[in-house]
Amino acid sequence: MARKDLLDIASLHREEIEFLLDQSTSFKKLFTRSVKKIPALEGKSVLMLFYEASTRTHSSFEVAAKRLSAEVTNFDVDHSSITKGESVRETIETLQAMRTDYIVVRHGHSGLPGMIARQTTASVINAGDGAHEHPTQALLDAFTIKEKFPDPRGKKVLIIGDILHSRVARSTSTLLQKLGVEVAYLGPGSLVPKYGPATIPRFTDYQAAMAWTPDIVYLLRVQMERQDVQFFPNVREYHRVYGITNSRLAEIRDRGLYIMHPGPVNRGVELCDAVMDYERSLITNQVENGISIRMAVLDWLTPGGNFRGRNRMPRGSEPTQR
């Protein structure tokens, strides 16, 4: 049941998700051994193609690939011809010529990893595309939740923040719903789109959202850089209205709720400093689990398999036409 690519959560079947979460459990057991490396991907090459900077996701994939004994290459986006106006299409042809087995790609444009996947034999892993999807983040979130709630069905996760621009919100809520977890959104009216999935309650008021009785509050990173216009007046006001302030942390502690965040945290914006010492914060668990989940994904995908070739490209794109 292996696939060539991991591009989104939306198209994953529940059994595939369960399989990846189980595999991640096995891989995580390796972490306590003195030799953490296994030869699963020996002789395979993984190309890291990050058009957007991301130390966290980048190094997590790199560590995962190396623990599976793969060879990791960084495609230096900044100094490549991409910045000299070479089209993505030409870059893809270059990548295909390199015959790499895996491409881990992050790009600001939604849908771009899928486009690469359709034109290369490599297994493409979407490490975040625009405001579309971030599937491995969703998987590691689910894995982290299952460590606390082995049967998460009926549990409630409140996702707080910039829903509109967040690929994490999309992927994670899609996946959690597939596992029977209830999801709700909370954020400024300008950042919680009214046309999101009908099955997800949307709150703009913190008290109302807490009355929904979540088990986990999941804070999204406020990404000012994604906002082409102002969506709220300033971060101080954001923190006051939607952030986990000291007094809200007290309430969360009283209720025994877990806190999650995909990182990196804007301290004093999404979360007050005290959250860092909160015993039910799962933020470092998420980071740790990112590695085993990515190992599971790399191990699961089959490069060269199900290669759909150029037939899924927009018509008229054959090289002879150029």
Binding site: Y195, P314, G316, S317, Q321, R322
Partner: protein
């Protein structure tokens, strides 16, 4: 001498197709009637079962010349028109250089005369280089026959600039065509704001971006006593806004709708298919339904394709980067037949009225009819045959259309313009 035997004749005035023989001599319709004697030396075409109609006219095309001849030229564009049963077009002025002066318009029209087998008209810019700031050389362009002024591709942002232009140009008998979109609301990506834009993670353009400018530009036209033509309307509320203004009757408004906005929704974009990326974007089924209603009712005076060619290379980029627009000329008539006439949503009379007669009236041109004494400017259309829109079939230089490799019902068999047969299948 051409003798079309047993053709079913369509006109804008009657939903009934009358079967007749038609005799064309030296480009003029000489006789119409049943069981006419075949004159000696006439070439006889058995037209039984096929529809003979006045040829179409497209009031909104992009031929990309000058400046983007890699996408389309006046020659390839006009051949695509003929291929689709169209014998006249109005080009949009968003070329490079933009058509904002008598000099640039003169060059284009001169080219068109030499390189196209059909009349090619052009609109002119409202503002210099379509920047929305200084007025274009309006009267200079008028002397060359330009009637339509538009900054198509963009809205003329500053209402004061547009109002002045309207006040000025109306004196010369010119009218305005409006591309309606508030850029600050629409964002750079051509995708409807809604469930689909959320799912794909791309900033969408809300329909209010269109509604606001439709309303604004009609109000400006009313204030200036100008005629405004609303281009490629995509939304239900946009249609209703025009309907309301038309019902008041105190401002001259016309409007057009593009075939693709009647046929496709944002759902068709599916897995980021750039052949469905256009501006204004594809909306929802409710919008499609309302646009069809508006077309039948007459809120939309005419159909125009917004034929917008782009190279395969450009369209093969990811959805966010790829340019907006699809080609429409090769496919327009067949797709309208397939989607609407064949299933009985509207009749041939509506096709003739909205895609042949009204666009010519908008441009102040004579309207061809299938009547004795008229110049033959007509299309013979086979309703039983099919057309497969292969790459080889298309005459446009670009093939960025969702119809590529699709087979639709209907076929343009013959295109006649005066003494010339422009196309014969």
């Amino acid at each position: 001498m051409l003798f079309l035997q047993n053709a079913r004749i369509a006109s804008e005035n009657s939903p009934v197709l009358l079967e007749s023989d038609v005799l064309i001599v030296e480009g003029i319709i000489q006789d119409i009637g049943s069981n006419l004697a075949i004159p000696k030396g006439a070439r006889v075409i058995d037209a039984r079962g096929r529809v003979l109609m006045p040829a179409m006219f497209d009031a909104h095309v992009h031929f990309r010349a000058p400046g983007f001849e890699n996408k389309e030229t006046i020659t390839t564009g006009s051949e695509a028109a003929i291929n689709g049963g169209i014998t006249g077009v109005v080009m949009m002025p968003n070329t490079r250089p933009a058509l904002d002066s008598a000099t640039s318009v003169a060059t284009v029209l001169d080219n068109a005369k030499r390189k196209a087998r059909i009349p090619v008209y052009t609109s002119g810019c409202v503002t210099k280089d379509r920047q929305g700031k200084e007025l274009a050389e309006i009267e200079g362009m008028r002397t060359l026959g330009v009637k339509m002024l538009t900054d198509d591709g963009d809205t003329t942002s500053d209402p004061a600039v547009l109002l002045r232009a309207m006040q000025y140009a109306t004196e010369f008998g010119m009218f305005f065509a409006s591309h309606c979109e508030v850029p600050e609301l629409a964002g750079p990506r051509a995708l409807n704001e809604g469930v689909m834009s959320y799912r794909l993670g791309i900033k969408g353009s809300p329909t209010c971006a269109e509604e606001i400018i439709i309303d604004r530009d009609i109000r400006l036209a009313r204030a200036a006593g100008a005629h405004v033509h609303i281009q490629h309307v995509s939304s239900k509320l946009g249609m209703e806004t025009i309907r309301w203004w038309k019902s008041r009757g105190d401002v001259k408004v016309t409007a057009e709708v593009a075939p693709h906005h009647l046929m496709f929704t944002d759902e068709h974009i599916g897995d980021y298919d750039t052949n469905y990326k256009m501006n204004p974007p594809l909306r929802t089924q409710a919008d499609c339904d309302a646009l069809l209603e508006g077309l039948i009712e007459g809120v939309f005076d005419l159909i125009a394709t917004d034929h917008a060619p782009h190279t395969p290379f450009e369209k093969a980029q990811d959805f966010v980067t790829a340019p907006n627009g699809i080609t429409g000329l090769d496919t327009a008539l067949v797709s309208l037949y397939h989607h609407f006439v064949e299933p009985g949503k509207f009749g041939w009379d509506l096709v003739v009225k909205r895609y042949s007669a009204e666009p010519r009236r908008l441009m102040g041109l004579p309207v061809p009819t299938i009547e004795v004494g008229q110049q033959a400017e007509c299309v013979l259309f086979d309703t039983e045959a099919e057309t497969t829109f292969t790459r080889e079939f298309m005459k446009s230089k670009s093939q960025n259309t969702p119809f590529i490799d699709q087979t639709l019902k209907g076929r343009v068999d013959l295109v006649i313009l005066g003494p010339e047969i422009l196309l014969e299948r």
